[in-house]
Point group: C3
Chain length 267, copies 3
């Protein structure tokens, strides 16, 4: 089980992510997340869910690259591909509040994973963020090009995506990538109090806030998300990309290695 | 008189808000604001207006809840309801510059009041902000769901609205809720110099800046504002909301009380 | 030669701006920039270009006002006026990455010049920014009313444009006007490593990032840019503007003077 759900109350769930060794977003992650999403949507009392990591070094490392063809195929209820874009849209549209409490690395699809949440809190000392795809000769394919600029503005999104470098939580908060950077010792308590507070409010009012905000605010366009994902999978087949990926695997990619701890330096 | 206008010059007016005990946005506030708005629009020399509070603890506490049905009804010249949305749009569209110089609490409709201004300066030590409606089982109905995310981005607007909690001026400035947090001892001097500077410029150029910016930038949609306000008044009638409001009144709501000073804790 | 190009590599060019005494954006600047733009677009290997200044006090001071009628006339390949709006759009749409490394003053058209770049890094101690047009009885005419609010939000753009005042790099970074403020001693090294890193990546991936982002993000509207420019040139003929400009020239405008170093104080 990659996702362990702690039902703090009927209204407040905590989900812990544990996919050793580095919390890769692999095909199992994808399939189990679909089951969890169905379960959350089916629960009429759920008001707030917090996602956290069991691995303090990695929140979600990135997409698993060796078996990219094995991700589930097809179209979900949102009209988007079920592998991830459909789940991202369902998190956005859900009547409950989604919070990412981030410790460790959230890079590539890991960064795009948290961008789909309503709210992001990050450990000031232990959370790191990147969109490293440019370093493998590609570009963000899981929503980073559709959602990151809505958080940070276009100029800072271009800086992040074109550098592919690691960003600490302080800079991520300054840029709007996350809501706040919180001292690591306080993160769990802060997030827990924040979520419990929301769980104490009226479910109908929470659902109204999300529905009205989703009507008013600029949201990613479905056609953009799907076109970019298609371009991303094509880019992974470029000669340049295949060579860069091969070299990174030789250095320790997808293992609990210095490459994964400090990916920004290796690109 | 809730609003006292100090005409520093023909081009620069200062308006002090004084509606004891806690500067509630009540029916008198609404009616007198309509008169003041007419007066400002009618004045051809006015270039800049600063709103400040006579009460250092409260800028505008929030909407008055016991007589919500007595607010003026009808449609204003903008096509929006006259109770407040029409005034907010007229402030936005005015050829003069509106500045809120904020000391004390600006919660709920008080927060939405300042969101309608062009520019917001806040006392670093003494200004506090909240959209506390979720705590009474409702949601922002006076523009907060239409304007706040344009200032802070969607993620931080959701955090603010879903928590209903109090935010100090430093965090409000970091989020973009206000332009700047300024040390309390410097706030009045800073705002006065800023406004006097604008008053020294050419009225036609100022009006052009506002007109062009209003054409270029994303503005709240009239239909969204009206639909949300309608939903808000309906939500106040929900059983959950009526019970929460009743409980808060028993603790001291709408009085100069610890509840009003520290509303975030009581929700 | 106002622009000296140092081809660090085929993929990475550095352009130094030198137009004594204060790097005015004059007719020569405009014509030579058009030639440079053609050269950059024609080069198939170029991935990243950094613009910096040879004059530590001035990045680009502002537009030259005495010969405003002599700027090149006509429409460029983007459908925009060639004097500057066409170049700005071509920088935005280029398949290579444009970075401004800013030291000294970037005011008016100098500020609008850097707003057209993808990414902006500024010297924390030595970079200063302003849209001072209100001080000459006009308003930004070279894109400032179309691009600045996309970086800073509407409220802070209005503050900047309506005050006409000088902003240091720290506040500019807080507002999003620049990506980051970097200690002056580190700026050159930081920008160089950042650009060299981008130059090490795959050109096709970089071009895809820019193309997709330009499709997804909010961009300035051509019609708005042209209409504002037309209004700007008309405003320069207003009596109020002509008098304000005349007074500033008498104090030392367009010379290496205290007026140009501290323009905000003189407006």
């Amino acid at each position: 089980m990659i996702f362990t759900t702690n039902k703090v109350s009927n209204a407040y769930w905590k989900v812990s992510i544990d996919n050793p060794p580095i919390n890769l977003f692999d095909t199992d992650f994808s399939r189990q997340l679909m089951v969890l999403m169905d379960e959350m949507e089916a629960n009429e009392n759920l008001q707030v869910v917090v996602f956290e990591t069991a691995n303090p070094d990695f929140f979600v490392a990135h997409v698993e690259l060796l078996h990219a063809n094995d991700f589930p195929k097809g179209t979900g209820k949102t009209g988007l591909s079920i592998a991830w874009p459909d789940i991202a849209k369902r998190i956005e549209q859900a009547p409950f509040v989604s919070i990412a409490s981030i410790r460790g690395r959230a890079r590539g699809l890991g960064s795009e994973f948290i961008q789909a949440f309503d709210i992001r809190f990050a450990s000031k000392e232990k959370a790191f963020f990147a969109q490293p795809e440019i370093g493998i000769g590609a570009f963000p394919g899981g929503g980073g090009l559709e959602r990151l600029h809505l958080l940070t503005g276009k100029a800072r999104a271009l800086e992040i995506i074109l550098s592919g470098d690691d960003y600490n939580a302080g800079l991520a908060a300054q840029y709007g990538w996350v809501n706040r950077a919180i001292p690591d010792a306080e993160l769990d308590g802060f997030t827990d109090r924040f979520a419990a507070r929301i769980a104490s409010f009226d479910k109908q009012a929470i659902a109204s806030v999300k529905a009205i905000m989703n009507r008013n605010a600029t949201l990613p366009v479905n056609e953009h998300i799907m076109d970019t994902q298609t371009q991303f999978f094509a880019a992974l087949q470029w000669k340049e990309a295949r060579e860069r990926i091969k070299m990174l695997f030789e250095k320790g990619l997808q293992q609990n290695s210095d490459v994964e701890l400090n990916l920004g330096k290796y690109l």
